[in-house]
């Protein structure tokens, strides 16, 4: 058997790991794989052209951008911030668990750019989490302060990753559809996206539990220092 086409997989891995332009890496790997499977250059270009053309529906998802952009023009991000600010006064654990759910639900409804590190975590979620932790547990030593801020950023990631795939018109779902369709297994986007729901629930439970565990751990430490559970 000719094992050389496997080199294409190695090229993808190495190319991404070395941070070359991903489009160049992907096309380079496709051409190499085709040539090593003893297709000629014209046949490889044809295969690539046909495959790219057959999968155009994946990039159709971008037509939602004018809607989102227009709403941003009229303050969508600011509105999301106001909602988050409404949580002022909650404990750190409660704040981040609710933010986790908010991020998962909005992403599942196709609004994955509500939230995000520069837009929401840095100006809002992280400072609010820190302030809430200090209110419950007193001034935080440096390492615990870092843990709280990092947990705020982690919560944004977990909420986005395990919410967005419930929205069917998103690149990852359509990429799955495209790969399976090329292999002869036609699927629909909704068939795929409903299977993102069990993992989304697990993510909420696991990460939510870890957020509250961090809050409790800070509480135990401050309890030891001050001799009482609550300052």
């Amino acid at each position: 058997m000719n094992y050389w086409p496997l080199l294409g997989i190695a090229l993808v891995v190495i190319g991404f790991a070395l941070r070359f332009n991903p489009l160049l890496v992907v096309v380079g790997a496709a051409v190499a794989t085709g040539l090593l499977a003893s297709l000629d250059v014209v046949a490889v270009v044809e295969a690539l052209g046909k495959a790219f053309n057959d999968n155009r529906y994946i990039s159709v998802t971008w037509i939602i951008l004018p809607v989102i952009g227009l709403l941003e023009r009229y303050g969508l991000q600011q509105r999301a911030r106001t909602l988050i600010e409404g949580m002022r006064g909650a404990t750190m654990g409660r704040l981040l668990v609710i933010y986790l759910g908010f991020r998962q639900i909005t992403a599942a409804l196709g609004m994955k750019d509500i939230g995000g590190h520069p837009q929401a975590v840095r100006p809002l979620v992280a400072p609010m989490a820190e302030a809430a932790a200090e209110k419950s547990h007193g001034a935080l030593p440096d390492d615990e302060r870092e843990q709280v801020l990092a947990m705020a950023a982690a919560t944004d990631n977990v909420g986005l990753f395990f919410g967005e795939d419930i929205f069917f018109a998103i690149a990852s779902i359509l990429l799955i559809q495209g790969v399976f369709e090329s292999a002869g297994y036609p699927l629909t986007p909704l068939q795929l996206s409903v299977w993102a729901i069990p993992t989304a629930i697990c993510a909420f439970i696991i990460h939510g539990w870890r957020i509250t565990a961090l809050d409790r751990r800070l509480g135990r430490r401050s309890g030891q220092l001050s001799g009482s559970a609550r300052p």
Binding site: R56, V67, G75, R79, Q147, D156, N157, F162, F180, L190
Partner: protein
């Protein structure tokens, strides 16, 4: 009958609009990139495979020389946005909700009523076509309600698409790579090799190898999208679907999510893991990853169980 071809014309019109606006803005590279993509959407079904391949190479060349850049079309100031947000309130979310509601409610209505007998939509294409209709409805609603300048949705869309840049076609390109892998017989080769390594008939172990492989390749490459065609061609399709008869929808969907667990663990996914540590001025650049380990690993175990139960125990 409404087919994907209609969607391609719609998306082609959006890309062409962004190309024209980029040209007017003096951004030749962006204009060329969105223009070639528009040509692919308008003409792709009528061009030869070779001509489509040349369009792909042109897109990659434009992106490869770094010609696609961010843009800054005129928009509202943060102060104006805050004022609008205060005045319009939570109703701002409503137009965005039109899109998923149209698509999901429309799909259910179409499939579970006699409407499906009309053959209005091409089979299995109804959800994405309804998504396109939802976008048009949402745009119309927002235009009537907010009364922005006529070009505002196009310019705001350009602001966002240019911030994504060439990465906008990466998923489509990766799906094409998956197709080339399939054509070159990569799945058969790995299926043969893995068949020798994984104990014969152990479905559960194969699921574990698939999910761990997704996570591991994602950790190395920093991108679950890139890992997906590789692992689908190697194990997902030849072994889990073809040899063991698993449910392809579960294997695909949850396999991708196993990859996302890998994204939580890798400094290679800099936008998610390293940039926030810098934004928050943390001393340890891996501080965010450290907080994610305890979530990612149990969640990966959950994904393995979900694939095993959903794709095999409940399916067969």
């Amino acid at each position: 009958m409404i087919t994907y071809e209609w969607l391609y014309w719609l998306a082609g019109a959006f890309f062409a609009g962004w190309a024209v606006l980029s040209l007017r803005d003096g951004r030749i590279g962006n204009a060329a990139f969105w223009g070639v993509l528009a040509a692919s959407f308008f003409l792709g079904s009528h061009l030869s495979d070779f001509a489509n391949g040349v369009l792909v190479l042109a897109l990659v060349a434009i992106a490869g020389v770094g010609a696609v850049k961010r843009s800054a079309p005129d928009t509202t100031t943060p102060e104006e946005r805050a004022a609008f947000s205060a005045r319009l309130g939570n109703r701002l979310f409503a137009p965005a909700l039109i899109v998923p509601v149209t698509a999901v409610a429309g799909t259910l209505l179409y499939n579970y009523t006699p409407l499906s007998d009309t053959g209005l939509f091409a089979p299995r294409r109804e959800t994405l076509i309804l998504f396109g209709i939802g976008v048009l409805l949402a745009l119309a609603a927002a235009m009537v309600w907010l009364r922005p300048p006529l070009l505002a949705p196009a310019e705001e869309g350009r602001r966002l698409i240019d911030s994504i840049g060439w990465a906008a076609i990466l998923p489509q390109m990766l799906a094409a790579l998956g197709a080339v892998f399939a054509l070159a017989g990569v799945g058969d080769i790995i299926g043969g090799l893995a068949g020798g390594v994984i104990p014969q008939g152990s479905v559960f172990l194969t699921v574990v190898v698939f999910a761990l492989g997704m996570a591991l390749f994602t950790i190395i490459m920093g991108n679950a999208f890139a890992a997906f065609p590789v692992m689908a061609a190697a194990i997902g399709i030849p072994l889990l679907v073809e040899t063991y008869g698993g449910n392809p929808a579960v294997i695909g969907a949850v396999g991708m999510l196993a990859g996302f667990c890998g994204t939580l663990l890798t400094p290679m996914a800099a936008n998610f893991n390293i940039v926030p540590a810098a934004l928050l001025e943390l001393k340890d650049q891996n501080a965010v990853i450290r907080q994610q380990v305890g979530t990612a690993i149990p969640l990966l175990v959950c994904n393995i169980v979900i694939i095993y139960v959903g794709a095999f125990l409940l399916w067969n």
